[in-house]
């Protein structure tokens, strides 16, 4: 709105007073600073020519189709940005507009800025997601399998929330054979990301578990923000122990969900995913039992059939045929055996004759033929000593051609 007294002032003073650039710029600045609208203004536009200086100050231009506005955001305000402004991004910038006297140009001194249409946290999320995706943190080849029957499960979550008790209840119901270790951490607030990341590293350093569940129950996007932290993302990525991410409710997706080996929709869901259900296990044991039974039945049936097939074969149908050939072989073998036996007998007979001749030479009959006799008492016992008999005893003396019965008259030692 053109105000005539301004023009008058300029015309009236043009001839009378010549002023410096500084003066006019200061004057314009003071005029603008006096305007309450310009001292607190929100501007919508698209960022271009965004520059971050080493000083920490940010310089950029906001523009729409027809116009542009220079902007500056000083370090103190820039550090509070919850997202990283980028060229082409539509934003709403809050601040005051005034003149920068050195350049004679007015600009927006931006106090805060947020993405237009979507929240700044959302933008920060997308930015971190894009960055970590580029670094390969979400790549499928890094995903470790979750053990089928974990013996130790570590829960990295708050010890206070309902989430931990929900998980314990479900774990006990599904698979009570496992052991659960709780690593209590804060799950929201500025300390939370470091605590969560440290707990993951601690569990790895001491190899505490077969699988980790990292998460918390539901909350606002701010409450869940720790799980969108870079430190947590890298800790999950570097974990040797497989990790299930379990943050918030079903629709909540966090960076940790993308990095983890498995995403659970909720902590309860994580407890369901991490262990088998014992009712399913019992069912599969039943299945195994019936599979074994039917396999065994099948095998017995097969054996029976095989027996039937065998008994239907020519041998079983016409056993005589089988024996006929065998019999021929048997006859031949018997002949051989007999002749071998005969040879054997002949040899034995010769040996026998020779042996008998030897025995004959040693016979007592031959000895007696040389004049020796055998003396026995009345009971037929051979006498070897004079004391085997007493005087008057009847004795029998056998000689080569017969026996003499005599009686003992005297005993006399021969003094040997």
């Amino acid at each position: 709105m053109l105000q005539f007294w301004h023009i008058d002032w300029v015309i009236n003073n043009m001839e009378q007073q010549i002023i410096s650039i500084s003066q006019i710029n200061d004057y314009i600045r003071s005029r603008m600073d006096a305007d309450p609208l310009l001292s607190q203004i929100a501007v919508r536009g698209e960022i271009s020519n965004y520059k971050m200086y080493p000083s920490g100050h940010h310089y950029f231009t906001l523009k729409d189709e027809d116009a542009s506005l220079k902007c500056v955001m000083f370090k103190g305000n820039a550090v509070r940005l919850r997202f990283r402004p980028e060229n082409g991004m539509k934003v709403i910038a809050l601040g005051r507009i005034t003149v920068y006297p050195r350049d004679g140009a007015f600009q927006l001194y931006c106090a805060s800025m947020s993405p237009d249409g979507i929240g700044d946290l959302h933008v920060a999320f997308e930015q971190l997601k894009a960055k970590l995706a580029t670094q390969g943190l979400f790549n499928q080849e890094h995903k470790k399998p979750i053990p089928r029957f974990p013996q130790i499960i570590a829960l990295i979550t708050s010890s206070a929330g309902a989430a931990v008790h929900d998980m314990l209840r479900i774990l006990n119901k599904r698979y009570p054979l496992t052991k659960v270790l709780l690593l209590p951490v804060r799950v929201q607030g500025v300390e939370a990301p470091l605590e969560i990341a440290s707990a993951i590293q601690f569990a790895n350093r001491h190899n505490l578990a077969d699988v980790l569940i990292v998460g918390r129950g539901g909350g606002s996007i701010e409450d869940l923000w720790a799980f969108n932290d870079e430190r947590v993302a890298y800790a999950i990525y570097h974990s040797q122990i497989p990790i299930i991410s379990a943050v918030g409710h079903e629709p909540d997706v966090t960076i940790s969900d993308y990095v983890a080996d498995l995403r659970a929709a909720t902590p309860s869901n994580a407890a369901e995913l991490v262990v088998p259900d014992q009712s399913t296990l019992l069912q599969s044991m039943d299945g195994a039992l019936s599979a074994m039974i039917s396999a065994l039945q099948r095998q017995i049936q097969n054996n029976t059939q095989r027996l039937q097939v065998l008994s239907g074969s020519s041998v079983m149908q016409n056993p005589a045929f089988f024996y006929e050939t065998k019999e021929k072989v048997l006859t031949i073998l018997t002949g051989r055996l007999l002749s071998a036996q005969q040879k054997c007998l002949n040899h034995a007979e010769q040996q026998y004759i020779a042996l008998v001749a030897k025995l004959d030479a040693m016979s007592p009959l031959k000895v007696m033929a040389r004049g020796y006799s055998i003396t026995e008492d009345s009971s037929g016992k051979l006498l070897r000593s004079i004391y085997d008999v007493q005087i008057g005893d009847e004795i029998t003396v056998s000689l080569q051609d017969g026996t003499i019965t005599a009686s003992v008259i005297n005993q006399k030692e021969n003094g040997l």
């Binding site: 009570p176 659960v180 099948r298 017995i300």
Partner: protein, 77 residues
């Protein structure tokens, strides 16, 4: 390994192996009968393990040397 000392996981794996072997039907009948007996014993011991188990729960704290310490964690199942 005697069945009593086998973990649940090892028992289940052995059971699956037995079922596979029996279903292939390559073993002698006598061997199959032995497998069947082993399988039924595994099923019984696994069932017992599940029936008698109660979830063990501890809280981990860190001692002055930075080592983990197990503590009781009060909970209801």
């Amino acid at each position: 390994m005697s069945q009593k000392n086998m973990t649940f996981e090892a028992s289940m794996q052995r059971l699956e192996q037995i079922v596979r072997t029996m279903e292939r039907g390559e073993a002698e009948l006598e061997e199959s009968l032995k497998l069947f007996q082993e399988g039924t014993e595994l099923i019984r011991s696994c069932g017992n393990m599940l029936e008698n188990a109660k979830l063990q729960v501890s809280k981990i704290t860190v001692d002055t040397n930075g080592a983990p310490v197990e503590e009781e964690f009060p909970h209801e199942l």
